[in-house]
Assembly symmetry: C2
Homo-oligomer: 163 residues x 2
C-alpha cells in the first residue's frame, strides 16, 4: 500500500471516529478539547459536528488556515505540559470529548510521550467522556472501545473514561 | 462540508485520477514527471503504480519523508521556471504522464501561475501524453478528459495532449 493510500485510510478513520464520537456526546455536557490544531481541518470538522459546543484548542504554534483559528479565549498556546495543567486547574475533569492528533511523524517520540500524554488528557476528561486519538494510550481509568463499523483496526483509537 | 471532508475527497480524487492515468500509460513510452514532491505521498503512489518507469521529480526544496526522496539523478531541485526548461532541453517532449500538485493554498497565486505552468508542462509532454493536475490549465494542444467514474467534478483535472 502506498503512502497516499495509507494516508487516505488514516484520514477516513479519523473522520469516521470523530463522527461516531460526536454522536455519543450529544447528551454529555462539558467542553470539547482539540489537542493539536495543525492545519485546522479536524477543528473545522468538530465545530461542524457539534455546533454551539465550547471547543478549546491546544497548540504550540498556530499554522492553521485563517478560517480555522479559534477565538482567542478558546486557544491555549504553548507546550501542553504547561497549558493542559493550567486549563485543568480552571475547568477540571469536565471534557466530554478530547481529540488528540499530535502528528510529529516521529513514531518513537510519540511513544515516549505516550505516558505523559495519557496522564495530561486524563486530567481533563469527564467521567464517561471520550478520547479519540492517533496513537494508543494506556490510562487505567479508560477503556478502549472498538472502532466504528467500517473503520480498520489500529489506524485511530477511541477510549472512554469510567463513569 | 467540513475542511476534513473536503480534504478527504480531494485526496481520493487525486488517487483515483492517478490510478486511471497510470493504466493509460502502460503502452506509452517515456518518463513520468512529478512536479511538486511535497511530503512524497503521490511520488510513492506513482512508483508503486508504475514500477520500473523513470520518474523525474521537480521540487524547490525537499521536505518529504526520507523514504520518499528520489535518487539524486532523478531529482531536479530549484524553481520550475529554471529546472523545467533545462530538463526539456535534455529530454524533449517525451513525458508519458505528468502529475502536478503545487499546493500553495493560495488560489489566486495558482491561477496567476496557470498560464506559465501550462506552457512549462507542455514543453515536456509527449504527443498523446497525460497530465493529472490539481488546478485547471488552458493549453491549446491539450484536451480535458472527463474524471474517472466515481470522481466528483472539478476536484482534480486530467488532460491529454494531441497525438
Amino acid at each position: 500500500m502506498s503512502r497516499l493510500d495509507s494516508f487516505i485510510r488514516r484520514m477516513q478513520a479519523q473522520r469516521d471516529c470523530l463522527n461516531w464520537a460526536a454522536e455519543q456526546v450529544g447528551g454529555l455536557p462539558g467542553p470539547i478539547l482539540e489537542v493539536g490544531l495543525g492545519n485546522g481541518r479536524t477543528y473545522d470538522h468538530l465545530r461542524a459536528l457539534l455546533p454551539g459546543r465550547d471547543i478549546y484548542v491546544f497548540e504550540r504554534e498556530v499554522r492553521a488556515h485563517p478560517d480555522c483559528i479559534p477565538a482567542a479565549d478558546r486557544l491555549l498556546l504553548g507546550d501542553i505540559q504547561e497549558t493542559i495543567p493550567c486549563a485543568a486547574a480552571r475547568l477540571g475533569r469536565s471534557a466530554a470529548l478530547i481529540h488528540c492528533d499530535l502528528g510529529t511523524g516521529d513514531h518513537a517520540a510519540n511513544v515516549r510521550m505516550g505516558e505523559m500524554l495519557g496522564a495530561l488528557l486524563d486530567s481533563m476528561l469527564a467521567p464517561g467522556g471520550y478520547v479519540v486519538v492517533n496513537q494508543p494510550l494506556d490510562v487505567q481509568r479508560w477503556t478502549r472501545l472498538p472502532e466504528p463499523p467500517g473503520v480498520p483496526r489500529d489506524r485511530y483509537f477511541i477510549y472512554r473514561a469510567a463513569e
